[in-house]
């Protein structure tokens, strides 16, 4: 009797992808808060990177522009660090984002109770359900965070161009900017996974008998 049920990875990835594709609008709503939070994070970080590049460039005209733009630099400073206020706002935005993701994912679990119950009636183990939700969150996280990182990066660059003019281009630390964007991409994906964790557990614990319920 010791026989096991299985769900190959390829099939779980396919199921997760299909679920996102077909509920595209729903997935967009879930991902939107992530896009916004990641783009805000990227915007501030890339903005700092560019300012840092300008500071390192050392042209007095740029230094003046930096001070005018609100960067707190005293003569002799070699680095620009994000201010406490900036960090606090970024932290809050990420916090709001993760609460938003948990909320949206819990909604999605509630909407899909019948589907989850049915899967369990067909022989799915708890961990299959968790896996499908986690995979969906990874895909949403990667897509959302990528969109957010690009959006934030482009916005930061455009803002810098408006502030400092085209003369800043040679000073943009492209490597640093792309590292920052990669870093925010990872943070975004991680947040998405963190946000789905609890809803996925709730979904997995759902009893198969719930699939039989007729009333919504």
């Amino acid at each position: 009797m010791r026989r096991l049920v299985a769900l190959p990875w390829r099939k779980s990835i396919q199921m997760a992808f299909q679920s996102i594709r077909i509920r595209f609008f729903r997935s967009m709503v879930t991902t939107m808060s992530l896009v916004l939070a990641v783009s805000f994070l990227t915007f501030t970080q890339v903005g700092n990177d560019i300012a840092q590049g300008l500071l390192a460039g050392g042209s007095s005209e740029h230094l003046q522009a930096l001070t005018k733009a609100g960067f707190d630099i005293s003569p002799g400073d070699a680095t620009i660090t994000s201010s406490a206020k900036q960090r606090w706002i970024v932290f809050l935005s990420l916090l709001v984002c993760i609460v938003g993701i948990i909320n949206a994912q819990l909604m999605s679990v509630t909407e899909r109770f019948r589907e989850i119950g049915t899967l369990k009636c067909l022989g799915a183990l708890d961990r299959f359900i968790v896996r499908i939700f986690m995979l969906e969150a990874t895909m949403q996280g990667l897509a959302g965070a990528l969109a957010g990182a690009l959006l934030g990066g482009i916005a930061a660059l455009l803002t810098a161009l408006i502030r400092f003019g085209f003369s800043l281009l040679p000073y943009v630390p492209w490597l640093q900017v792309s590292t920052t964007m990669f870093f925010t991409l990872c943070i975004g994906t991680f947040l998405s996974l963190l946000g789905v964790f609890y809803p996925a557990i709730v979904a997995a614990r759902m009893r198969p008998v719930d699939a039989m319920r007729v009333e919504q």
Partner: protein, 245 residues
């Protein structure tokens, strides 16, 4: 051994639901034996414990006291993995609300239990197509549930229930959400498949059309078995219903 012909045995099963202040006794001692290959209807008014008994037989719920054996295995002794395996391989479920996975096509819905059972995707597709043909939905394999009518969705559900050639098909009010003719189609389809494949069909129902094809009807009342009637006994009581059989 005569016992081995019984696919389901229910022994002194009681079920209480603890609602905090009060405990409701839903099943008050049920003994029931179901023979392999029979078409059984469980009838009873709402609140009679019909659904609860049905869920026990399906391994979806565990009794407070007493034992439920499915194919001579006591389901209370099974762990989560074994229960999942039982649901996957031994039992096929049909729901009142069809419960197809909305994001999957008809064929994918049917092959899903096969995937869980470890069937290769080529074999699953082949078997899935054959099942679709058997339930009369040839050519609809690429359609999603939203593109199928209620009756067609239930046909897909019937095919899905049969995917892993289970020993038992459990149908919970399978005609509850269908109109009269479509309901009758589904009942006939279930009966046909039951005869053809020797699968035991157990259905909880309000639908008197179901009596027509049942080998045995179990009447539940107030948490107890009121009576068990074989088809020949039914004819007398419901006269005229036998015409289609």
């Amino acid at each position: 051994m005569a016992e081995s012909k019984q696919i389901v045995r229910v022994r002194g099963v009681t079920k209480n639901f603890d609602l905090g202040k009060i405990v409701i006794e839903v099943l008050k001692g049920i003994d029931l034996e179901i023979e392999t290959g029979k078409y059984i209807s469980i009838m009873g008014p709402s609140g009679s414990g019909k659904s609860t008994l049905f869920n026990m037989i399906g391994g979806l719920d565990k009794p407070t006291a007493g034992k439920v054996f499915i194919d001579e295995v006591d389901i209370a002794q099974l762990d989560a993995y074994e229960l999942a395996w039982l649901r996957c391989r031994k039992i096929g479920y049909i729901f009142q609300t069809f419960n197809l996975i909305p994001v999957m096509t008809a064929l994918e819905n049917i092959t899903l239990p096969m995937t869980f059972a470890g069937v290769s995707s080529d074999d699953a597709t082949k078997r899935g197509m054959a099942l679709l043909e058997q339930v009369g939905l040839t050519g609809r394999h690429g359609h999603r549930p939203s593109e199928l009518s209620g009756g067609q969705q239930q046909r897909v559900a019937v095919a899905r229930a049969l995917a892993n050639t289970p020993a038992i098909v459990l149908a919970d009010e399978p005609t509850g959400n269908l109109d009269l003719t479509t309901g009758e189609d589904i009942i006939n389809l279930l009966k046909e498949l039951s005869v053809e494949r020797g699968v035991t069909v157990i259905s909880a129902t309000h639908d008197y059309k179901m009596l027509n094809v049942s080998d045995q009807v179990v009447w539940i009342r107030d948490g107890r078995i009121d009576k068990i009637q074989n088809r020949d006994e039914l004819e007398i009581r419901t006269g005229g219903l036998e015409a289609a059989a």
